[in-house]
């Protein structure tokens, strides 16, 4: 149903976000793309509905090369669920669900019927919820609507980009189960991106573990768990993570997206405003090619903001980790020294993400939950 044939995504600066990806997802299969931040999983997903264009190779959906299909037509026939839910705040729940059917020009009565049917399927009483605004819903309800919106026009393929990433663990678990139930009934081809291994193992028919734009291992959850192909996979699986933690282990599995990433040419005042809005103590500065410039130091940035200078001058460059060399003990030492996120760079100085204390806490939590939650 969805096929990748030697697909690469090369950016103008030569970064290979996705490198010669071969992948075949069968009809009705639930495929989960997983990997650390920057491994190319989201890029691969977005290439399927051409939000990102692939630069080499070709992608087939339903046997047709997507380069031959008008992107707008293509997208209307592929469901899409995004991480930050992104329901239209000015439209009612019903209208949000009806978005794609309306784009496709369905009749009003048919749309209304479909909306009610979907709401009922998700256990939300149509009469009560149809005219609610997204802001009047809880996080879990919003994401249910996000999923219903993708299902509305009954597409064969649905793309989900970390759909439950922003939810609390309880509602995440509930929505995962609901989605699995729904999938049993509708049998869609689903491509699902996550960085949470538990989620991948729970949901997937096929897990595709990616690393630096390539597939590290692909197979059913059982295969991956029983035969991890490499240390990286074993590490990512998190089997007995705590027991296995050695000071010289790589930091790859700890890397997450930076909370705030700004361009070096931005004004210091604007960056400080953003940091204040997001309630952050720090931000990572990159140049237009993605090369890391430094980490913002608020004290120096405040002085610069008064003079109207750019943020590039208010950074410190000494605090960083190299993905190829750094070990967990390096990261831990830096975090013990100062509890602010540590930027992680690749060999060419590009910013991959950050490591902070929450990443290390996650290792511990993952381990503890697994101990207590065998019933899952």
């Amino acid at each position: 149903m969805v096929e990748f044939d030697a697909v690469s995504k090369v950016y103008e600066d030569g970064t290979r976000a996705v490198d010669a990806l071969d992948l075949s997802i069968a009809k009705g299969e639930f495929a989960v793309l997983i990997g650390p931040s920057g491994c190319g999983k989201t890029t691969s997903l977005k290439m399927i509905n051409r939000l990102e264009e692939c630069t080499e190779g070709r992608i087939l959906v339903d046997g047709k090369d997507i380069q031959d299909v008008d992107p707008v037509t293509l997208r209307r026939n592929i469901g899409y669920v995004v991480q930050d839910i992104a329901l239209m705040p000015h439209l009612s729940v019903g209208e949000n669900i009806a978005t794609v059917p309306r784009l496709l020009g369905w009749k009003k009565a048919k749309i209304a019927g479909r909306v009610d049917e979907l709401l009922a399927m998700a256990g939300l009483e149509p009469k009560k919820y149809r005219y609610r605004l997204p802001d009047q819903l809880s996080g879990g309800q919003k994401q249910r609507i996000g999923v219903l919106r993708a299902l509305a026009a009954d597409p064969d393929v649905i793309l989900m980009d970390e759909p439950f990433g922003a939810l609390d663990p309880l509602s995440r678990d509930k929505l995962q189960s609901e989605l699995l139930e729904m999938q049993k009934a509708v049998q869609k081809t689903i491509v699902f991106v996550t960085h949470d291994m538990d989620e991948a193992l729970k949901m997937a028919d096929k897990v595709i573990l990616m690393r630096r734009g390539r597939i590290e291992q692909m197979g059913s959850p059982e295969e991956i768990q029983e035969n991890p192909a490499s240390d990286f996979v074993r590490n990512f699986l998190g089997e007995d993570r705590l027991a296995q933690i050695t000071p010289d282990m790589g930091i790859e599995s700890l890397v997450q997206d930076p909370y705030l990433r700004v361009l070096a040419t931005q004004k210091a005042a604007a960056v400080l405003d953003q940091m204040e809005d997001l309630n952050l103590d720090t931000a990572q500065v990159v140049d237009d090619k993605g090369k890391w410039v430094g980490m913002v130091v608020p004290r120096r940035a405040k002085a610069l903001a008064r003079d109207g200078g750019t943020i590039a001058k208010a950074v410190r460059k000494d605090r960083r980790l190299n993905i190829e060399e750094a070990t967990i003990s390096d990261a831990a030492a830096m975090l013990a020294d100062m509890d602010l996120p540590v930027p992680v760079l690749d060999g060419r100085g590009h910013l991959l993400g950050i490591v902070d204390s929450s990443g290390i806490a996650r290792l511990a939590i993952g381990r503890l939950c697994r101990k207590g939650g065998e019933t899952r």
Partner: protein, 268 residues
């Protein structure tokens, strides 16, 4: 000659010359309405254009800002060389004067739409045009209407100066009142102008409330879907927000005139 109170003088003046006051009110509305309509037709598309050509934005907004800072009387004076004297000149000056809030608010309103929403809309298969009309403009509407409200009040207030360069409008009464030191005549010009500005502002505020997601959702819940049974792609459905607001603008400027007429009659 006995000293009569200002109020008596005012009532007598209005009772005697209400046809003239009404005529001038109408002229005032006409000048302001045309100026606003031109401003919206130019500035909303311009603001949209600027969000797509970010580099131009500081220059265009800066230029609009310059017009804003020129004292309005001086601007009217300069424009005599271009448009001569009369209403055309006044309308041109008002347009230059009202540009800034509309351009700036269109631009900021559109820029503040979260990129994640735009990406989601694109990912669902909206064309760039649909993204603009169905996502960006509706979300920018509160900011946009706030800008239009500011522009409206400015234009109606400043339109009184049109009389200084041979144009019409309520400014005539104010200027002739000033020249003949008759306060009741000044009042007869100033009060309707103030009422017009306040009414137009209130109408736009009500309009904004009417279209706010909350009231809209309540309305939908009460009446069932009001949306036309048309796909978004069909040509008839191309309701540009700019048009919408203009129509409403006209509605807004018409209704105060009606109200004002009845007021005039009441007084007479």
């Amino acid at each position: 000659m006995t000293q009569r109170s200002l109020w008596d003088l005012f009532i007598t003046y209005v009772a005697r010359s209400y046809p003239r006051i009404l005529m001038l009110t109408w002229q005032h509305l006409y000048i302001s309405g045309i100026a606003l309509a031109i401003t919206l037709v130019i500035c909303i598309p311009l603001g949209i254009y600027l969000t797509r050509n970010e580099k131009l934005a500081p220059y265009v907004i800066g230029l609009a800002n310059v017009f804003q800072t020129i004292p309005s009387l001086a601007l009217l004076g300069f424009l005599i060389f271009v448009f001569g004297i009369g209403n055309d000149n006044a309308i041109a000056a008002l347009v230059l004067y009202a540009m800034l809030p509309v351009i700036q608010n269109t631009y900021t309103g559109l820029r503040n739409v979260p990129p994640s929403l735009i990406q989601a809309a694109r990912g669902m298969g909206m064309t760039e045009r649909q993204i603009l009309l169905k996502v960006q403009l509706p979300l920018a509407r509160p900011v946009l209407i706030a800008g239009i409200r500011v522009a409206t009040v400015w234009v109606i207030g400043t339109a009184t100066l049109a009389a200084a360069i041979g144009g019409g409008g309520l400014g005539r009464l104010i200027f002739s009142g000033l020249a003949s030191i008759r306060n009741e005549v000044i009042l007869a010009g100033a009060i309707p102008a103030t009422i017009l500005a306040l009414l137009a502002d209130q109408c736009l505020k009500m309009l904004e409330n009417y279209y706010s997601p909350e009231t809209r959702a309540k309305r939908l819940a009460r009446l069932g879907p009001l949306e036309p049974d048309k796909p978004w792609d069909s040509d008839q459905d191309e309701t540009v927000l700019a048009d919408e607001t203009e129509e409403n603008e006209e509605a807004a400027s018409e209704s105060p005139s009606d109200v004002d007429k009845t007021k005039g009659e009441d007084v007479s």
